[in-house]
Symmetry: C2
Subunit: 303 residues, 2 copies
Amino acid sequence: MEILVVGSVAFDSVETPFGQGTDILGGSATYFSTSASFFTGVQLVAVVGEDFPAEHRDFLASRNIDLSGLQVVPGRTFRWKGRYGYDLNEAQTLETQLNVFEGFQPNLPGKFRDAEVVFLANIDPELQLEVVRQVRRPRVIACDTMNFWIAGKREALVRTLREVDILIINEGETRQLANEPNLVKAARAILALGPHTLVVKRGEYGVLVFGEHNVFSIPAYPLEEVFDPTGAGDTFAGGFVGYLAATGNFSEAAIRKATVFGSVMASFTVEDFSLDRLRRLAWPEIEERFRMFQALTAFEGLD
Amino acid sequence: MEILVVGSVAFDSVETPFGQGTDILGGSATYFSTSASFFTGVQLVAVVGEDFPAEHRDFLASRNIDLSGLQVVPGRTFRWKGRYGYDLNEAQTLETQLNVFEGFQPNLPGKFRDAEVVFLANIDPELQLEVVRQVRRPRVIACDTMNFWIAGKREALVRTLREVDILIINEGETRQLANEPNLVKAARAILALGPHTLVVKRGEYGVLVFGEHNVFSIPAYPLEEVFDPTGAGDTFAGGFVGYLAATGNFSEAAIRKATVFGSVMASFTVEDFSLDRLRRLAWPEIEERFRMFQALTAFEGLD
């Protein structure tokens, strides 16, 4: 199955203790699509300005990403500027320029309306719901959001979550959305809002996945060189949803494996700026790192 | 094999958002010994004042803990007072009364000097080294320390670490000891100081174990009710060292299983104040939670 994704395509300016990049390719839908494209085809719905270069378009098109839903409108592309300290878990946002994203209305090309797997990247929950309404018979809808929407558009977000099967958010967002410090209780409250699966991203600490009757957890791979964590969460989601869509299997066992593939993909993204590590990534490296996750986490059974 | 442990026996006064306890039984050696006693016999070296009640002595003795190295001296027992917020990962120390601990000199009873497995709980590294010198032919020495000694007695600590096989500390201490923010690089620097294994405790995020050529990681069990994290680290160490000593196997595979048993034991301790959960813990519950860790972390291989 292919995946329909709606989200941002952006230029990022990023500073980390290890270097910096200015107006480099970024955006939630960009990271998600590129990551997912290692597993299956992707239909991208987003908007860019007239300053978006052919080079970036060509890169995305080369990755099995259908760009017929990528609107190009007069004005400048969305820009984000952020900085990370030695604690690479959290970015400090220095500047956000919505630019053409401000008037973004996701209109799906006709052929995108038959999508079976949908990922709603982190955008206004009202726009997320509009996308859901345009898709005829989705089998699985996964969704991201952020503190800004949880605080400012809670009602719209709750309406969107009723339509969502898998919510993929970070630990702080989980606590904020449920208004509950204990993560297990918070997860139960969020599952009551609609999703059957909650994926809690914990940065360098890994991922927790709550289902209705089970919980799965995997640590992040401990890396010696982390250059830029930007996009790690969207890259995770791309690997996670990408694996599920590629196999068409949405069982609990598949969700566990998908979590590992998501973690594998994210572990590559942080090794370089922008999408640079994904650009030069080959499938055998993905398989090798999957095996490294097995080696990282394996322990024997009771004797 | 039995385990020799040197550390503190204390009265704790603890406040958490879920309740409080005053002058309840605590101390690193107390938590360690009680936890390890589920796996093997323990020889305890510590000091208490004349205010230490027979009730606590009787409890420890009932747990297969040899108290012939527990000195009773005039004065009051060591007291610690701390508070936790909703973020239960870190205690705020409100008061520390060293009392009889101030003049503590660990003198091992003759029969303790043949110990094969030694755990040096978090005390002055000079005292830790004195214990090492009194033990004739230890097979494995494990050790804990804290920010206070890393900052204030680094040279003594480095001398002690030369004698240590397994260092068990938390994440912040790892970075502080190596003066390096990246955990993988920090681990390598610490292994160069002497230990062949570094166990990094990450509270609710689990544990990372670095060997010379391998790394293992396990998440903590996500718990719905965490009442009091005091003693979780020492309880972990008790299960970890306890399993190794009980089996007499110190291979990498054994260290992985020991890490899971340590995590199992810690997951019980935090469910109640003081040692109350361990007091009513039975072996079948330990086995059941070990299986829960298997269920928490299992995923299939590459097809």
